[in-house]
Symmetry: none
Subunit: 430 residues, 2 copies
């Protein structure tokens, strides 16, 4: 049956929810969906956000349905009165709703698992337009829906990203991919630490002009993200192998131009890369952090399986805690100040010894907004990494909000750990 | 003349640019505009992003024009072929374009200032639909345009935020504000912890129906955010004092229905509220966390000034670290397992004593994805809070990814601290 249907070439995304029309919330689901659609070679023609108003949603949905092959609606599938997506889609498509007993049973089971009874209003989530396919939602109570309208498809997904994303991925693989055309977008990424956006641009400019006219042409985009620069490479092609080969060779040339500062060639985060290096080396890590306030440890432990190499750490916000928990001599703090390279070094070496870890990290600085001095302004951070081949230490300075400075401090510290662990492993390999 | 026109009550924003349909860029202009419109009491009914395609933009613009009083288009005013906004607006409104010599002179002067001659393509930016008002752009070469269509307004703004924002502010003050009704939006928020969205809905349903028909009517929106439920109250009124009073009374009734679970009445985050309580009580806090991996400490230290009450803490990922740094007896871990209420209690009491803090928190659990057992599945978390009046402990269970479980664990722990500190303060006050 799939074969007889026209390919899906174009899509529109409609995010539903009055909260997305305010000044504080943003529809980030559409970024994920844009990426997924690009991977299928389906052109995203427009995206829209409408509030919880029946008429507005009906108009926007009706218009999308006239123009594109695939309409994706996110949100408005909850149990409350202002969750209108199901109702409006059924009205516009003239497909009456009926309660699906299997969904009711599922939702009741979800509540029962948490020792709760299902509130009566959740029954709304079991209403299904005639002929629609129900999409299981293992991460929430709102099932998704898939409706065929002739050659076109309408996909209703829940709003919360953790429910929406796996559901879209399943539908993409099982329904959308077989109906997409042969041209697909292929991508590669190089993440860079320790350089500014313009320095990355300078380094790779001689490479990316020829890439743009190669076969297939590769488009290069440079983006500045917090604490890292991202080089995105994109190729549109109907030949997967050719595209992948071209991207791999382009990536190689970029890495050759950038060197050690290129830390991730597959999109993995800094903490993931560092974790992989530690695991491969059979090493462990311990942290004593002050200004980053637990964020460095939290990022390290964001990685599944990190308990194999994270021994633990100390957040030493007060000087006496630095002394009692990371063996930093009190007179060292008195002499150099808490934010200093000697103290960062003592923190790294102290926590390494106390927690019997292969590597110890010390981070001390001023996250602001208060606490700066002319000699040590807000954003001054001393970072030390202690390991089997000694301790290295450096002082860096960042601008930004308290949250940004915490993030930059943790990113710099992770990057120092990455370079240290990689160097030690290279030395051991001889 | 202004007086004879109908007030502007509704708006739609259309952002133009294919780059905004990718997976890496987001339209942030609309957040700024949403805020500005709310301040004028103009309801934002929808927002859309369309690529640089004539037909798509024409359709979306035509549709907006039928539905709202004010259509704001951002972007697509540059000098290149894919900058279509001027052309499409003139076509849809049937207002022919003519070159404005004053704009040409302006752009030529801008280029001359940088020692350059104006490229010929920049003449496109001087094309003005008949009858439109030209809006100066001191920060770029693209002027904005304002078109009256009967009672309705169409506003074309440049895409770069630093050009768009000042231009909108000038138009808002000079043109929109006099045409806006006297009615403005007023807002209040109640944040709730420890209840599901449906349970919040059930509790306040008897309240929000009457609110919707009160004077002024108050609209209630319930949103599920990670670890908390948000109740947003909005009133549209021409009487600021009346609106504020009505919102305050509505908020009071909601708090009365929800009780202690309502933790924030002004939008402040849980960590901010907890920090305020600790500061007001002159108390300090120390943390021993395992599965939350530093996130609890990181959230506590996200708050400016937190060094006044955060003593520090330990991330005890391994059992021997729990023993060495938080004085958890090894045989207690052997007997009950690391994820247990006795161990959480010992962590809280141990770190409280070791760091000489008023309150100690212990968090131990299984963040997953590995490490679960039938008796203690992934997501099982034991949390204890020790303070001057003793220690309380509970076990909670969450579903979700590793990152989500870490967040929920930190949120639950903060919420337990909040309740403990508030209770202690109440007892002390007698």
């Amino acid at each position: 049956m799939t074969d007889s249907l026209a390919p899906l070439r174009s899509a529109e995304i409609i995010a539903v929810g009055s909260e997305l029309l305010g000044s504080t919330r943003i529809d980030t689901n559409s970024l994920f969906l844009a990426d997924g659609l690009a991977g299928l070679g389906i052109a995203l023609r427009a995206k829209a956000v409408v509030g919880d108003r029946r008429g507005d949603l009906a108009t926007m949905f009706g218009l999308a349905l006239e123009r594109v092959d695939l309409v994706i609606l996110t949100g408005g599938l909850g149990p409350t009165d202002d969750d209108l997506t199901r109702d409006v889609v059924s009205e516009v498509l003239r497909l009456p709703l009926a309660e699906d007993p299997a969904i009711v049973a599922d939702i009741e089971a979800r509540f029962a698992k948490r020792g709760m009874r299902m509130p009566a209003i959740n029954r709304r989530q079991a209403m299904v337009p005639r002929g629609a396919t129900v999409l299981d939602n293992p991460n929430g109570s709102a099932p998704g829906l898939l409706v065929h309208v002739g050659d076109r498809l309408v996909l209703l997904l829940p709003g919360p990203p953790r429910e929406m994303k796996p559901m879209f991925e399943r539908v993409a693989a099982s329904v959308l991919s077989p109906r997409a055309g042969r041209e697909r977008f292929y991508r590669a990424t190089v993440l860079v630490a320790g350089r500014s956006e313009s320095h990355v641009e300078e380094a790779i400019q001689p490479i990316y002009a020829p890439l743009a006219t190669a076969v297939p042409p590769i488009e290069t985009t440079i983006l500045a993200a917090p604490g890292q620069i991202e080089v995105h490479l994109t190729a549109l092609s109907d030949d997967a192998e050719l595209a992948q080969r071209a991207l791999a060779s382009a990536r190689e040339r970029i890495v050759a131009a950038i060197g050690d500062d290129a830390f991730s060639l597959d999109g993995r985060s800094m903490e993931d890369i560092v974790g992989g290096l530690l695991r491969d080396a059979g090493s462990t890590i311990a942290v004593a952090e002050s200004c980053s306030g637990g964020l460095l440890l939290s990022r390290l432990t964001d990685i599944p399986g990190s308990s194999a190499y994270v021994r633990g750490g100390v957040v030493a916000y007060s000087n006496d805690v630095k002394t009692a928990f990371a063996d930093v001599p009190a007179d060292l703090i008195a002499e150099h100040g808490a934010v200093s390279e000697p103290v960062a070094t003592a923190m790294a070496e102290g926590i390494r010894a106390r927690m019997a870890a292969t590597f110890g990290v010390g981070v001390t600085g001023i996250a602001g907004p208060g606490g700066g001095t002319p000699a040590k302004p807000v954003g001054t951070i001393a970072i030390a990494v202690a390991g089997p081949s000694g301790t290295s230490v450096r002082t860096v300075r960042f601008n930004g909000s308290r949250a940004q400075i915490k993030h930059y401090a943790s990113q710099s510290a992770l990057d120092m750990v990455r370079r240290t662990v990689a160097r030690d492993a290279a030395v051991r390999r001889g």
